[in-house]
Assembly symmetry: C2
């Protein structure tokens, strides 16, 4: 940090923003000066809302998703299919899948994926909670929807070993050529898998 | 904003960050989830320090700089030359000049520069405060240190007209070829000015 701050309050405010990922000292100073130019009430709104979030936010006791109450809106919605669970890494993935409007079951949020590089092991994820859920015998299918990376594959394999004797059907989201991608630039692994797992074709464009 | 937030608290927290310049919804969500992964006390530190900054920060009654008290550390330092004033746009420029360790006088922070495009006129700047200061008759030289842009030039000219009859010496920071720049890529205006305002040369490298 620069030592020439004429104000300790300013310096400490800048330090708060530099704690955040991807924000350096220059950007932090710009953000703090922006807050200072706002009306005082609007600037205080910023900190008050964040403080309320930090103090009151909860994790759903059923699926481990971020929630305003003990049980999240998805878990407490009786219209969702109770027999299907989609296992995802975090809330961003829940939101991405909800945006597709193609999934009507429940979720289970792991809170991360196994990553030895970042020191995240199975014990850091909500896997025990998932196993408890399956003991209720309402779930018939578990869909693994993790990233198509080494870490995602590792986590898929670990979960598979834990779940394979539980009697539920286990599936994984399809791998293949993304819409909009040109074959020429698709990597071999993806292209090979897309041929192996080809689907019946009915003549309609696939994007309809 | 995405409508699929499973939590109103989360959505409101994300909205706070999207108010800041250069931060979109995706980045905002990433920052909020980062705060959530911190220890609760550390996360609350973030909002508490910012709140304290917003509530307690002051502007120096003499130079208009951001300050912890009524009179900033520079204005209240008796070792600074009281007869020289450097006029700058904002606190970032004060810090930049302080970092050079080449200036030992006082500052006057305008709080902006004249910019019709952004709707900032002379009335929005602390020009009256500057004129009041000059009436004390302790200041002998005023140095304009504004950006070398159209807005900076306009402000320089406006200030010059206001100050020219006050009896103080008026100067402007030197324009010329930046250290590290190659002549070939220097714009004509700068290069022409650097020849016109050439300085005596004593044989030593200019960066010593």
């Amino acid at each position: 940090m620069n030592d020439n701050y004429p104000s300790k309050l300013l310096q400490r405010a800048v330090e708060q923003f530099t704690k955040l990922p991807g924000i350096g000292e220059r950007t932090a100073l710009r953000l703090v000066l922006f807050l200072l130019r706002l009306k005082k009430e609007d600037a205080l709104d910023f900190t008050r809302n964040l403080q309320q979030f930090i103090e009151e936010i909860k994790f759903c006791r059923i699926c481990n998703n971020i929630s305003d109450s003990d049980c999240c809106t998805i878990c407490s919605d009786p219209r969702r299919a109770q027999n299907t669970l989609c296992v995802v890494e975090n809330i961003k993935d829940v939101m991405a899948i909800e945006n597709t409007s193609q999934y009507f079951g429940l979720y289970h949020v792991l809170g991360g994926i196994i990553s030895p590089m970042e020191g995240i092991g199975p014990g850091d994820l909500s896997i025990d909670l998932l196993l408890e859920r399956l003991k209720q015998n309402t779930v018939e299918e578990v869909i693994f929807a993790l990233s198509a990376t080494m870490e995602g594959d590792t986590t898929n394999y670990y979960l598979y070993k834990k779940l394979k004797d539980s009697g539920v059907k286990i599936s994984v989201i399809a791998r293949g050529v993304s819409f909009g991608d040109e074959l020429e630039y698709t990597n071999e692994l993806t292209l090979g898998r897309s041929i192996l797992h080809r689907t019946p074709f009915d003549g309609y464009p696939s994007t309809r």
